[in-house]
Amino acid sequence: LPEDFDWRDHGAVGPVKNQGSCGSCWSFSASGALEGANYLATGKMEVLSEQQLVDCDHECDPAEPDSCDAGCNGGLMTSAFSYLLKSGGLEREKDYPYTGKDGTCKFEKSKIAASVQNFSVVAVDEEQIAANLVKYGPLAIGINAAYMQTYIGGVSCPYICGRHLDHGVLLVGYGASGFAPSRFKEKPYWIIKNSWGENWGDKGYYKICRGSNVRNKCGVDSMVSTVSATHASKE
């Protein structure tokens, strides 16, 4: 595995988006993963619709049938991938733009721009996560967002952080040496794309430490899924 890797340098990451006052992080995580997978499959970056997932995806968690994707009231990335397998795929952002509100489904199958071929759950293992990231593109992950409300920049590595997952984000890369001044040493980190706009964090991104000493900080390794795409556009 390379020491440093960032899918932003390879064109597989779309622009930073803003979910607004809507608990739709899961849809941004899922669409971001499919944007990357579709880029790897087609060589073209298609910016995909989250609103389609917010409006149309009501897939339920097989382990908890009462827990279903529910637009601004939350959802789960793997359930979104299941929905995408069944529905055929995602439209482009410009064809089905984001409103930040729950709405009625206006999905048109003829406008599908990216389709899911398959999705997988990656083991709770940093090496496997890095390998899947490099091989298959950006990964949809869950994280505990407790420290993200006040985060401005740098490599986050809280001494104490719960592992209860409450936020869906996109893992796009990793680095070997983010400097941690208080600990006087270089600190490896994950690079995470968030969906709170460019005026949050490090231009919309969050860095969190990784490595054997700090494994699974804020639950970041716990819920990792990868998706592969088939090209479904008529163009």
Binding site: S21, S67, A70, V121, A145, T150, G154
Partner: protein, 120 residues
């Protein structure tokens, strides 16, 4: 007490000769005004404004705690600084599962990713 020239919270807090800005209403008002202008915040009425100011103050203290617990990152005022942690969770987070349910759902399923080689 020595505060480094960088952006980090000083490890030793100054207790004399310079009051904590959070105990200084003028300083706090000024910070809140800057926050409101920077992020284009508007509040319904004076009562709402006062409530958000109190939440902002609590969040400044929280940011300080986070800075002490997470010294390799920078914590401070963000566009969410006028939201309580509960409001923040309710409005901006939305992952609807626990890790346990995720693992239970996926255990032994067809969706387990194959193990990839990581050497070389």
């Amino acid at each position: 007490a020595a505060a480094a020239a960088g952006d980090e919270e000083p490890l030793i807090r100054q207790v004399v000769g310079g009051p904590d800005p959070l105990d200084n209403d003028l300083e706090l008002d000024s910070q809140f005004l800057g926050f409101v202008q920077r992020f284009g915040k508007t509040y319904r009425d004076a009562e709402e404004h006062a409530h958000r100011l109190s939440v902002f103050k609590a969040n400044l203290r929280r940011a300080r705690r986070h800075q002490m617990l997470d010294p390799s990152a920078e914590h401070g005022v963000t566009k969410f600084s006028d939201l309580t942690p509960a409001e923040f969770r309710r409005t901006f987070l939305g992952l609807k599962t626990t890790r346990r349910s995720f693992l239970r759902e996926m255990a032994g399923s067809a969706h387990d990713a194959p193990v990839l080689p990581t050497d070389g």
